[in-house]
Symmetry: C2
Subunit: 295 residues, 2 copies
């Protein structure tokens, strides 16, 4: 068995029996039951965050990651369950600040806490189950040749938080694109969508594979974050490479057959027949999906 | 802020805003959305289990605990999401055996896996979100003076697993009382219910407090497990005390105004006006709810 996320998911898919029809099962970011999209995300100290990050940011950005899964499938988050693991004699100030991060974000999008579980744990563990209402799920596999490729926001700032421990607003307090999804799905036909959680390269490749299409992206059309570009220039880094491999941006990558004229989206390329992701005509690929013995 | 489960739940209840009506929120074992009862349970290596327990048993009994929450509210589990945290380079045999425990239990009750998350973690983390269909939730607060108090199964065997590391069937493979609940709720009026997850003393006290009633329980009516009684006699332990403080039994404690004649239930007392739990006429109380700096 491959010790990767994919390996584990494959094992589960093969070995757990199917008792009833489900629209979307394990391996997708969300499951669908009735009119609800449901996602479960776990974040663990040492793997996903360290305690040098301001706790309010830890609470916010982990919760944002879970909310973003609902947005990325075209849903609107309504409720959530929270599982918390905390060390014994955890610091009161830390806890309240952690919660404040979640609360502030839940207030913005009016996502209601409905339950959860609280346990003792050496490392801080945060587990979210989020429920969103959904009409028609927008999947990764719907991109069609002829679609335009779009992206919301810009890329690069989140990685500055990661690599440099410069905890900017975007890194600490990313906004899941819930409002944007509402507008987009109301006005336009969206064929496929994914959120940029592991970087444009990896996530566009996922979309390309799922849809069996080729994605042609042009670097002069990608919205790079100015601060990220500055940082790269100062440090003699390739800013394109830096920004297209910036994860946890929680921007949306999506395709549509329509020309979309909205302030918050930018066209970055087009969908063609074939497979794989091409940047300025050259095939690009991720440097390996995250393995359990990596990162 | 009190560093107890209750303290954390109180903080969350006070500080998270309410955006929409919900039937049951945080603090209850389940939340209710539409016709679904939903529960979230986290289990962490070192807190809830150690790796000396056969992994199949770890998978089974943790999952059983989550399923039991649905049963205890009168629901029937249908779907679940699984969150797993595993150390890097986890043992393949361990993982498959852990999964087999969950699978075997999911096969018995036809509970369908629909999604989840897989992360790297120093300690093994298991997080379940279970969805059950429910018509009328049976809560802890419905016990009325004049009700009879009932219990399913017998008590004590699970604690032998805990205290002595003798991993008997009941400890490793407890069966949540899903079928029993179906029969009970179909045939009888059940006023209140709770599962015995922390021991008869603590859980009966929870029911008594929630319902604002007095519970009179008689030790000569409690079904004590024979092996547990034997063990206590051999070791000069008080078997009543041992068994009524045996947790994770996942038996049901419930009250009904009706005389119930079913093989799998036993009457152990009656509900009166007042408050607290009385054993043979003497008030008993738990030795402290679990604190974060305990156990």
């Amino acid at each position: 068995m491959k010790k990767t996320e994919e390996g584990i998911i494959n094992f589960i898919n093969k070995n757990f029996r199917k008792f009833r029809k489900i629209k979307l099962g394990i391996g997708d970011d969300c499951a669908i039951i009735g009119n609800y999209a449901i996602t479960k995300d776990i974040y663990i100290e040492g793997t996903h965050f360290n305690l040098n990050i301001p706790p309010e940011g830890i609470g916010w950005r982990t919760f944002a990651g879970a909310l973003s899964d609902i947005a990325a499938i075209g849903g609107e988050p309504l409720y959530f369950l929270l599982g918390i693991g905390l060390p014994q004699n955890f610091d009161d100030k830390f806890f309240k600040s952690l919660m404040r991060g979640m609360m502030n974000l839940s207030n913005i999008f009016k996502v209601q806490i409905i339950g959860g579980d609280t346990v003792k744990s050496e490392k801080v563990v945060l587990s979210y189950t989020v429920f969103g209402k959904i009409k028609k799920p927008i999947l990764r596999n719907g991109a069609r040749s002829g679609d335009f490729i779009y992206i919301t926001g810009d890329l690069g700032l989140s990685r500055i938080g990661y690599d440099l421990n410069i905890f900017n607003e975007k890194f600490l307090y990313p906004l899941p694109k819930i409002r944007e999804v509402k507008i987009l799905t109301k006005k336009y036909k969206i064929n496929s969508m994914i959120d940029i959680s592991d970087g444009l390269v990896i996530d566009s490749e996922r979309l390309s594979f799922a849809s069996s299409v080729r994605l042609d992206i042009y670097s002069d059309k990608i919205p790079f974050n100015k601060k990220a570009v500055e940082h790269c220039k100062k440090n003699n880094l390739n800013f394109v490479d830096f920004c297209i491999n910036s994860g946890e941006e929680y921007e949306l990558l999506f395709t549509s057959p329509e020309k979309i004229n909205l302030k918050f989206v930018k066209i970055i390329g087009e969908v063609k027949e074939g497979k794989g992701v091409y940047l300025d005509g050259k095939r690009i690929t991720h440097k390996g999906f995250k393995h359990f013995n990596e990162d």
